[in-house]
Each structure stands twice: as C-alpha cells, then as structure tokens.
C-alpha cells in the first residue's frame, strides 16, 4: 500500500480503518505499562545483583538457577513459596488500602503482633470447651478487631488531630511490641516456656490446618480472599469510590460532603484488621502460641510488597508470591553456594530499590498511552 504518511487526510483515514482494533490495543497498552516496567525493573535488579556476585567470585547463573529451583521449580518449592507469601498478602493490604486514601502507614508490624496476642488470649480459655471452628473464628475476629483498632488509631489521629500517620503508626508499632512482651512475659506466660517466653500452646487439634492436597496452611486462602475482597471494595463499591476521591483531593471530597473522617477510620480499621489477621494466622497455623516470633518483620516487608504492587490489591498476590519464592530459595542458596543467609536480604533490597526507582519511567513511553499514539513522529497505525 503506497500511502503518503505526512498527508493528514490520508493518515486520518488510515486510523479510521483500524477503529475496530484500536480500543483493544489501547486497553492492552495501558495495562501493559506496569507489567513491562516492573519486569524491566526486576531484570535490571537481577543484573545489578549479578555484578555484586561477580565481584565476590560467585556465579550469578548458579544462584538464579538455585533461586528458580528453590522457589518455583517444583511443587514442593512452590508450596514453600506460597506459605511464605501468605502473611505478606495481609500485611501488604495494611499499607495498600490506606494508600488509596493518600495515607502512608508503615506500622503494620504492630497490628500483626497485637492481633496474634489477641487471638492467643481469646483461644486459650476456650480450648476444650468450645468447638474448634468456633475457637478459630473467634481468634480471627479478635485478631481483626484488635489490629483494626490499632491502625485506625493512626488514621483517626491523622484526621482529627493532624498527627502524621506515618510516624504515629511507627511509634504504635514499637508500643505494640512492648505490650506483647508484657503480656507474654506476664499474665499470659506459659510457665513451661523457659528460653522463649510464650503463651500456652494451642493443642494440635485447634490449629489452622493445611489446605487439602497441599502443604500450605489456610492462611494463604485467607490472604487471597482478603486481596480479592479489597479489590472489589476499592474498585466496585461506592465506599471505595469515595475513598479514591478523598485520596485524590481531600478538600474536594469534603466539599462534596463525603464523610472523610469515617472513610479514613473505616479503611484504616479494615487495613489494620487484615494485618491483625496475619498475626492470628501466625499463631493458629505456624507458631501455635503468641511469642516474640510474631515480630518477624512481616509488617515491614508488607510495605514493600504494597509499593511494588502499586497499591493494587490484586497485584499484591503475584508480588507476594515472587518475594515468597526468593525467601524460600534462601536456604538452598546458603547451602549450595556457601553464601551467608543475608544474601536473600541483599537481593530483595536491590530489587526493591531498582523497581521503586523505575516508577520514574511511568508516562515516559508513548507506546503505553493511546492518546499520544498519533502525535509527533510516532504513529502506532503505521508501525
């Protein structure tokens, strides 16, 4: 076809003929932007980490192969990765949901810890008297409520007192850890736990078991369901719509008569509730009792998961799985390559920095923005 491109009339008719494909292409292009940029960031991060390994005289290829084997290569390793992803799904929501309101909450760790303590505290008197399912449900409710109260404190202080929520949530996290130590060392302490003060262990029958056919506990299902529900809440309900408006412009939301205080209180309570649920899952599915292991840093890793997922609840699922996989491969890398266990931390840190840096590339590539396809010298129709 011999078409003179610079003739506006002809190129216009050329685009007209493609109308049937363009909306689809445009939709795909917009969706592709975060995926392509994030994958690019992952590859750049892996390349940088390779340089680090080469300077130590270790082979990056061997490491990445071990990472694949240990994290994703077999059904066994996939299950290991999924188990590690489970708490991150919930703690990431604790950051992602308030972020839609424009709040940066970094104290999810506190809700995890207190949620775990609350779950253990409510379960122990009921063991032996109430049915297993009731105990587990009550544990989940207790974890959710306590975690929700804790994080909503940060949200409400922000709204009603103007206290910065990032700082207050961080302070509340430290206070929560001190409270946990007080409970676990004091009134809730199991006298039999000598070296590692803990609450009395849950009897095996009361533990949250594995998903049938898998070596992964039910916490994974809880986390995935929470992510899906959060996505529906944010994207499909009027509550979520109002929250997004308030996140975009508080003043505009107030002028519209939206109850900003209730939105902030509600959403931070749900967010903290999920983190509290992560604590309950740690107690009911992993530890069997509440102890200092609850403060294992899930709250802090959750912050990074949420940012990598760009605060999209559905995107949290693959990001958490990916990070869970890296963590799961840690032991294998340590044994086979003689590298310290902190290798995984360095790799994660490198990836986080590079991927977050890649935020700067959003909106820079015209190919991802259909509105710009026909401007300048770039013409999607002719490519």
């Amino acid at each position: 076809m011999t078409v003179k491109v610079d003739d506006p009339a002809i190129s216009l008719s050329a685009t007209r003929r493609r109308t049937s494909l363009r909306p689809l292409l445009g939709w795909l292009a917009r969706r592709a932007e975060p995926v392509v940029i994030t994958l690019g960031g992952i590859f750049a991060g892996l390349a940088l980490f390779s340089l680090f390994l080469l300077t130590l005289g270790k082979s990056p290829l061997v490491l990445y192969q071990l990472m694949y084997t240990g994290g994703f290569g077999s059904w066994f390793s996939v299950q290991n990765s999924l188990s590690r992803a489970a708490p991150l799904l919930l703690t990431a929501l604790c950051v992602a949901l308030p972020a839609r309101l424009g709040l940066v909450i970094i104290g999810g760790e506190g809700a995890v810890v207190l949620g775990g303590v609350a779950a253990a505290a409510i379960a122990l008197p009921l063991v032996g008297t109430a049915p297993v399912l009731i105990v587990l449900v009550l544990m989940a409710v207790a974890g959710f409520v306590v975690g929700g109260i804790w994080i909503s404190l940060a949200g409400l202080l922000r709204h009603y007192r103007g206290v910065n929520e990032t700082i207050s949530s961080l302070l509340l996290a430290y206070i929560a850890i001190a409270l946990m130590n007080q409970f676990v060392e004091g009134p809730l302490r199991d006298p039999a736990s000598l070296n590692k003060p803990s609450t009395k262990p849950l009897p095996a029958g009361y533990m949250l078991g594995n998903i049938p056919g898998m070596e992964v506990h039910w916490g994974l299902v809880i986390g995935i369901v929470a992510c899906i529900l959060s996505w529906v809440l944010i994207e499909m309900t009027s509550f979520g719509f109002a929250a997004r408006i308030a996140g975009g412009n508080v003043r505009a939301a107030q002028i519209q008569g939206l109850p900003v205080g209730k939105l902030i209180g509600g959403l931070t309570a749900i967010a903290g509730g999920f983190a509290g649920l992560a604590g309950m899952v740690e107690v009911a599915a992993v530890q069997g009792s509440a102890n200092a292991s609850l403060a294992a840093g899930y709250g802090y890793t959750g912050i990074l998961v949420a940012f990598l997922a760009r605060h999209n609840p559905l995107a949290i699922i693959p990001v958490a799985f990916f990070l869970g996989g890296i963590a799961a491969a840690g032991g294998l890398i340590q044994r086979r390559m003689g590298l310290p266990d902190a290798t995984v931390l360095v790799l994660q840190g490198t990836l986080f920095i590079v991927i977050l840096f890649c935020e700067t590339f959003y909106g820079r590539f015209r190919i991802f923005n259909p509105d710009l396809w026909d401007t300048g010298d770039f013409k999607m129709g002719e490519a």
């Binding site: 940066v104 970094i106 202080l157 709204h159 009603y160 007192r161 103007g162 206290v163 910065n164 990032t166 700082i167 207050s168 961080l170 302070l171 509340l172 430290y174 206070i175 850890i177 001190a178 409270l179 130590n181 007080q182 060392e185 004091g186 802090y300 890793t301 912050i303 990074l304 940012f307 590298l339 310290p340 266990d341 902190a342 290798t343 995984v344 931390l345 360095v346 790799l347 994660q348 840190g349 490198t350 986080f352 920095i353 977050l356 840096f357 935020e359 700067t360 959003y362 909106g363």
Partner: protein, 308 residues
C-alpha cells in the same frame, strides 16, 4: 555495694547515666535527619545506614585497631548510602518514603552479609574510646563516664543551629526546604542541594552507628540496633527540625528508655516491659499535643512531603 548507699537517688542517677549513654546515637541520627529534612526530603532508610555503619566501624577497628579510623570509614559508607538515596529520589515520581524503606532493607542485608566474619572474632580489642573526665567522688563517677562522641554531638548541634541561621549554606538549605520554586528563582539547584543534604545526613547517622558497635553496647551483631535509625524521623518532628531540640529530644528519649532498668534496679519490677514503650508513648503524646488538624507543624520545612 555502692548502689545501696545512694538508695532512692540511684533512680534519677541511673536515668541520667542511661540518657547520656543511650542518647548519643539518637543525637547523631536525628541531626543527620534534620539536615536532610530541612532540605525538603525525608530519608527513612537511616536504619540501614546506621547498622551498616556499625558493621563498617567495627570491621575497620578489628582490622586496624583504631576506633577513630572506624568512625571515619563508617562516615564514608554513610555518605555513600545517603548519596544513593539522594540521587534516586531526585527523579520524578520516585517516592522518598518507599525508597527509604527499601534502602533500609538493602543496608541491613548488606551489613549482615559482609559483617558475618566480624561477629565471632569480636572479642580481641574492645575499643572503648576515652571518656570525658567529669568524675567527682563516689559511684557517681560511673554515671558520668561520658563518651567523647556525646560531647562532639552536642558541639555539632550548637554549630548546626548557629549555621542554619547565620550562614549562607544554612540559608540555601532552608530556602530549598521551604520552597523548590523560590530556590529555583534564586538560581539554586534544589536537587543538588538535597543530594548534598542527604549525603551529609547519611554520614552523620553513620557516626551514631559507629557509637553502637564501638562504645555501647560495644560489639557487632545483627541485633545491634533497636530501631534508632527509624526513630530518627519521629525525633526530628519532636525536635521541630531544630538541632538543639534534637539533643533535648534524644536525651529525653534516652532517659525514658532508661526508666525501666533504673526502676528495676531498686526493686520495682511490675510492668517492666511496659517501660520499654515509655519513649515511644512520650513521643506520641508530645506529637498529639502539638499537632493540629488545621495548620502544619511549627518549624516544618514547606517542601517536606511528611507534614502536609
């Protein structure tokens, strides 16, 4: 035992001693963060810088036998971490808070990775640095056994306080922090100043880390920091971005932290673990009391994303 001789006076004395001993890292970390935030950026990654600096200082000390060389090496690594943060955050759309947390993870990981060999052979030189000579009589001497870094920190705070008000550099820093546009109109490159400020902030925070591994607690291990780097951000707000305030905040914070152990030493053990929360509760209460929903905090740099 001398402790029994002073009786009830042991409590305030122990709190004072604890405040001085514990506050030094807080002083340096919060002074560093003050410089950074005064330029309009926030660096949440100082925890990583601090721990990496603690490792570097200790490693250099083990290898050369000179603690001061360790402090200098730590400052150099802190400057590199700060410069990394400053350079990455100058790009549009990059979130400084998220990068800070990522840098924290990276710094911790790298410190644990490279610091493994220095956990065990730690014992040889315990490089306690010469102490301030302030001894009167009695067991009070132990309490007033002051590390020279503490005195340097106070001198530095006064110097910074003076320099922020009275020097050209201080003025440039304040302009950049208050309004990016005004700085541009004056012909200043805001990103360059912020890069320098974050670098300086990182190297100061590193001194705090060096204090941890070289003086108190005085060894390198993976649990060396109890969140001093993260708390810097809260302390700076507490101090209202004022270097002198940083010293006061650090002393108060350190003193509140010493409350539990001090009371325990005279037999009050009830709620021992709750006293660990005392510094955080104190900071939170002061924040609540001084914040207002209608205006931003007094003294807050205008361009700071944290205090809108």
């Amino acid at each position: 035992m001398g402790d029994a001789a002073i009786g009830i006076w042991g409590v305030p004395l122990a709190i004072l001693a604890g405040a001085i001993r514990v506050s030094t890292p807080f002083i340096f970390v919060s002074l560093g963060e003050t410089i950074t935030e005064r330029s309009g950026r926030i660096n949440l990654g100082l925890e990583g810088t601090l721990v990496f600096a603690a490792m570097t200082a200790y490693a250099i000390d083990v290898m050369t036998g000179s603690p001061w060389l360790g402090v200098l090496a730590a400052m150099a690594t802190g400057a590199i971490f700060g410069a990394m943060h400053g350079w990455i955050c100058k790009w549009p759309k990059v979130n400084d808070i998220a990068i800070g947390i990522a840098m924290m993870q990276f710094g911790l990981g790298l410190a644990f990775f490279l610091g493994k060999p220095f956990i065990q052979p730690a014992a040889p030189h315990l490089p306690s640095i010469p102490f301030g000579v302030w001894s009167t009589s009695a067991p009070v001497r132990a309490a007033l056994d002051i590390n020279s870094l503490f005195l340097i920190g106070i001198a530095l705070a006064i110097l910074l306080w003076w320099a922020l008000r009275n020097t050209r550099i201080g003025l440039i820093l304040r302009v950049v922090g208050d309004s990016t546009d005004a700085a541009r109109a004056m012909g200043i490159h805001p990103d360059r100043i912020r890069l320098i400020a974050t670098t300086a902030g990182g190297s100061l925070a590193a001194v705090g880390g060096a204090y941890l591994s070289l003086y108190y607690p005085g060894s390198w291990n993976e649990r060396i920091s109890s969140g001093q780097g993260l708390m810097a951000v809260a302390l700076v707000i507490f101090a209202r971005w004022n270097p002198i305030g940083c010293v006061v905040a650090a002393l108060l914070f350190g003193g509140a932290g010493a409350l539990g152990p001090a009371l325990q030493s005279v037999g009050v053990t009830e709620g021992y673990y709750l006293f660990y929360a005392a510094p955080y509760v104190l900071t939170l209460v002061i924040l609540i009391a001084t914040s207002s929903p209608t205006r931003s905090l007094a003294g807050a740099p205008g361009a700071l994303s944290l205090t809108k």
